[in-house]
């Protein structure tokens, strides 16, 4: 910030502008697409330029170190580590043995510390063994050893697709919280095709997924349409559309003749026809299905769309600065709507994967499994880039896969994963907080040596003046 004094008694002091949601390469204000009421608060964002460039000339090594330690990857790693520590504290605090031994902590602290260590180490080793390598069953063959890894990919499959649905909207300056509704509609549509039609094997599952994608795209498009042509805020609209979709699908699932399984009184759909199920890639014992390949393809497509296509260029342009895009002759309203259509489409892929890959025995209104919200954390961790979303999806897929084992083996409720995930996003969203916690240099501030030199210089010049 500038040199002017701040209110020292402010409980919170502003530091520099952070923009998590938007385009990762845009130092812009949140783009309010059709409300060009840019007030004075918007402008200063650009004034917070770092002076890394000048530092570099005088102090190349220090600057390189500072740049790396202040970079996004280090931030991500630190955020993940910190969150795991917070999760560990929670696990230890709720462990029964830890609670029992804490009663005589001051008499024998080692008891409690070892109990805490065992609880945390046990939980996190179960997390690792459930998500990466199952070392306990290493002697049962290579397949058993790496099975958790394929489980991770399986859990990551819808997370990646849904993450793209949030990421692409971010790039256009939109916030798609509507993942739940879009996934539900996609699941319902894909499921309906999956259980009520008879088609040739490969074609059937592809048609089901395509119909799911279209359904998700339409539901996303409604939000985009309202945003573009009435100015309704997409956050509000997508939240509300989530609940509309939830109740609508619930109603269809309990109404005979619509989606309900004939002969059942429960709100559940019939099972998928065999031909509408995504086949496994490797076969037993692995559960990994071709949906993962579809997700990878979606990442590649999204990457091409954003970075290489003309439409993607317009997406990014509107995301950076809608007014400039409008002046350049782009149809901002159309782009806004299309962005939500694509976002809904990616969400639709995730929803279709759920019914054709994960839960093929009939779905309920809980088929989205919270993925629509997880997707927000995935996209944020991935920096709103397609491949970043891919790796973030893998990480959270690993958390999910390991979380189930952790719950089964160690009795740690899987909800801890949600907590760790949310902390990761909070820390990712506020790099200054993480830097402050680890004593890392803040970008835009000067290194200690430089500050010292400058102070010395000032002292000298002052001496001369006197």
């Amino acid at each position: 910030m500038n040199d002017q004094p701040r209110d020292t008694d402010d409980p919170i002091e502003p530091t520099e502008q952070q923009r998590v949601g938007g385009s990762p390469d845009a130092g812009q204000q949140p783009a309010v697409v059709h409300a060009p009421e840019t007030t004075e608060v918007a402008a200063p964002a650009t004034t917070v330029a770092t002076d890394d460039r000048t530092v570099e000339q005088e102090d190349p090594w220090g600057s390189a170190f500072r740049r790396i330690m202040g970079g996004n990857l280090v931030m991500a790693v630190l955020a993940i580590l910190t969150s795991l520590v917070v999760g560990g504290i929670l696990i230890a605090a709720t462990d029964e043995r830890v609670q029992a031994t804490s009663g005589y902590f001051f008499a024998r602290p080692s008891d409690m510390l070892s109990a805490a260590w065992e609880a945390v180490a046990g939980a996190y080793s179960a997390l690792f063994q459930g998500s990466i390598l199952n070392l306990a069953r290493a002697d049962a063959g290579f397949a058993q050893l790496i099975k958790p890894l394929t489980d991770t990919l399986n859990f990551a499959t819808p997370l990646i697709a849904a993450g793209l649905g949030v990421a692409i909207a971010f790039r256009v300056g939109l916030f798609n919280i509507g993942g739940r509704g879009q996934m539900l509609w996609a699941a319902a549509a894909a499921g309906w095709v999956g259980f009520s039609f008879q088609l040739p094997p490969v074609l059937h599952v592809l048609v089901a997924i395509a119909v799911g994608i279209v359904a998700g795209a339409i539901w996303g498009g409604i939000a985009g349409l309202l945003k573009a042509y009435t100015g309704a805020h997409e956050v509000i609209v997508t939240i509300m559309l989530n609940f509309v979709a939830l109740w609508f699908i619930t109603w269809m699932l309990r109404t005979p003749g619509l989606l309900q399984n004939p002969g059942s009184n429960n709100p559940i759909s019939p099972a998928m026809v065999e031909t509408a199920v995504l086949p496994p890639i490797f076969g037993p014992p692995f559960s990994l299905h071709w949906g993962f390949v579809l997700s990878v393809a979606a990442v590649a497509f999204c990457s091409w769309l954003i970075n290489r296509s003309s439409l993607g260029f317009q997406f990014r342009a509107v995301g950076y600065n809608p007014s400039a895009a409008l002046n350049a002759g782009m149809d901002v309203k159309r782009i806004t709507m299309l962005a939500m259509v694509f976002a809904g489409g990616f969400m639709g892929l995730a929803g279709a994967q759920q019914v054709t890959g994960t839960v093929t025995t009939g779905f309920t209104s809980g088929i989205d499994a919270g993925i629509g919200f997880d997707a927000i954390t995935v996209a944020l961790l991935g920096g709103s880039t397609p491949w970043g979303t891919f790796f973030a999806g893998l990480l959270f897929g690993a958390f999910k896969a390991g979380g189930f084992r952790m719950q089964a083996a160690e009795g740690v409720p899987i909800d801890i994963i949600l907590v760790v995930q949310s902390f990761i996003v909070l820390f990712i969203a506020a790099p200054p907080l993480v830097r402050a916690m680890f004593g890392l240099p803040q970008p835009g501030t000067k290194s200690r040596r430089r500050r010292r030199d400058e102070a010395a210089l000032r002292a000298m010049t002052k001496g001369e003046q006197a």
């Binding site: 910030m1 500038n2 002017q4 701040r6 209110d7 008694d9 409980p11 919170i12 002091e13 502003p14 530091t15 520099e16 502008q17 952070q18 923009r19 998590v20 949601g21 938007g22 949140p30 009421e37 007030t39 608060v41 200063p44 964002a45 917070v48 709720t94 029964e96 916030f175 309202l226 009435t230 100015g231 309704a232 805020h233 509000i236 939240i239 509300m240 559309l241 609940f243 509309v244 109740w247 609508f248 619930t250 109603w251 109404t255 919200f373 927000i376 954390t377 409720p413 909800d415 801890i416 994963i417 949600l418 907590v419 995930q421 949310s422 909070l426 969203a429 506020a430 200054p432 907080l433």
Partner: protein, 427 residues
């Protein structure tokens, strides 16, 4: 809706240009609803009488049940609705202001017609319906008040859900552990304030996109309370059985027919609500605090220029919003339910957010919106009990659809405080 613009004529011959703007949205909305009523109550009319039970046990005097023949009542009401629509259209065409009585009369008639239609051949306990409405609205109203304060101060509060859930959990645990409901109530407020402070710190100090912080906080608190519920409360039921706040009937008022039991046979949280809502409305528009609050939400730079400390005021007001929402959270575990269950707020925080928007960021209007949404879900429960001709899911959808129509500009006008959601960066 006339605006007057002086033209650039010399002073002696000022001619005023009159721009006449006719607003057709309201008549169109009324017309659509009248058509809906026509279809339901006349074309799809149901036979039989609807018995509306207006009395309850402790009234001064017992009002007899109203026995309304469904078909005839439907016709009368559709005619009345059509007349009101015609009046609204005439008023719009001749650019006249219509009083607030018109939407109220329209709404009451529509609801009465709908009740008669849906309850044909059955008995609807109106007093019970109103009692349930108040009960279901309390957390919505507190949540909406939290939303109003926070958004008026310029911080988008998506985290109402988290504040309610955090308050509910803490209220239950502390209330059980200490054995005192009042301590539980205060703890619930403190917990919600802490949630708010996280929101405030990230939004105000670190300039993180406020919607993101809100959404993440909702997920975080849901995960945290679920985790603690599974790992602590299921093994120690003693920690999850708070004493419930006693119902304190107010001696005379509780015997008012129809409204008495619903309004004046409640616990202290509800009575606190009767005080807090007008207090916020008065404070927001009549006090220095309110003026400053609205200033930092509309134009923080201007507020800063006249010496208001924007960041500090925002921080404390967002915290205050949390305290109010925390009362709503406490209502779940200390009044209505008596124990914490997983994700027991079940999206009510989002309905409260909807009430804030539908209520145009005004405390009284937001309360009215919350009551409307509470009435919709109470009606859904009542109709579910007597066998409703409308699937209950559609009743549950109502608040969300209404909100979408509101933000899209079809119903009323929805304009957020200008600087809501925008961080203020001091130069």
């Amino acid at each position: 809706m006339t605006t007057q613009q002086p033209t650039a004529a010399p002073a002696e011959t000022i001619e005023l240009e009159r721009a006449v703007v006719r607003h057709w949205k309201a008549p169109i909305s009324y017309a659509v609803l009248t058509v809906v009523a026509l279809v339901l109550m006349v074309l799809l009319a149901r036979d039989g009488d609807a018995r509306l039970r207006l009395a309850s046990g402790s009234d001064f005097f017992q009002i007899p049940d109203a026995l309304l023949p469904a078909r005839a009542t439907g016709v009368v009401i559709v005619v009345l609705l059509a007349l009101l629509t015609a009046y609204a259209a005439w008023a719009a065409a001749t650019v006249r202001r219509v009083g607030v009585w018109l939407p109220i009369a329209f709404g009451v008639l529509f609801v009465l017609g709908f009740l008669t239609w849906a309850g044909a051949g059955a008995m609807i306990p109106i007093a019970g319906l109103l009692f349930a409405t108040v009960g279901l609205s309390v957390p919505l109203i507190f949540g909406a008040m939290g939303g109003v304060i926070s958004e008026r101060a310029g911080v988008v509060n998506i985290a109402i859900e988290a504040q309610l859930l955090g308050g509910a959990f803490t209220g239950a645990v502390v209330g059980s552990a200490t054995g005192s409901t009042i301590v539980g109530l205060l703890a619930a407020m403190v917990a919600a304030v802490l949630v708010s402070m996280v929101l405030a710190v990230f939004a105000i100090r670190y300039f993180v996109e406020q919607v993101i912080v809100g959404v993440v906080l909702n997920v975080l608190i849901a995960g945290l309370t679920n985790f603690l519920y599974s790992s602590l409360l299921t093994d120690n039921p003693a920690l999850n059985s708070p004493e419930r706040l006693p119902k304190l009937p107010i001696p005379v008022l509780e015997s008012i027919p129809l409204l008495g039991p619903a309004l004046f046979k409640q616990s202290i949280i509800v009575y606190a609500m009767y005080i807090i809502v007008p207090l916020i409305a008065w404070g927001l528009f009549k006090t220095t605090w309110g003026l400053r609050l609205r200033a930092i939400g509309e134009h923080p730079l201007a507020a800063d220029t006249v010496g208001i400390r924007v960041t500090r005021l925002r921080f404390w007001n967002v915290s205050l919003a949390g305290a109010v929402a925390g009362l709503g959270g406490a209502y779940f575990t200390l009044d209505s339910n008596g124990a914490f269950t997983r994700e027991m707020t079940a999206g009510l925080g989002y309905i409260a957010l909807a009430a804030v928007i539908f209520g145009q960021w005004h405390p009284i209007k937001a309360t009215a919106a919350a009551l409307l949404f509470g009435f919709a879900s109470a009606l859904q429960q009542t109709l579910g009990a007597i066998g409703s001709p409308v699937p209950s899911e559609f009743m549950l959808m109502l608040p969300y659809v209404v909100t979408i129509l509101a933000v899209a500009g079809f119903i009323g006008q929805s304009r957020a405080p200008a600087a809501s959601g925008k961080p203020y960066i001091k130069q």
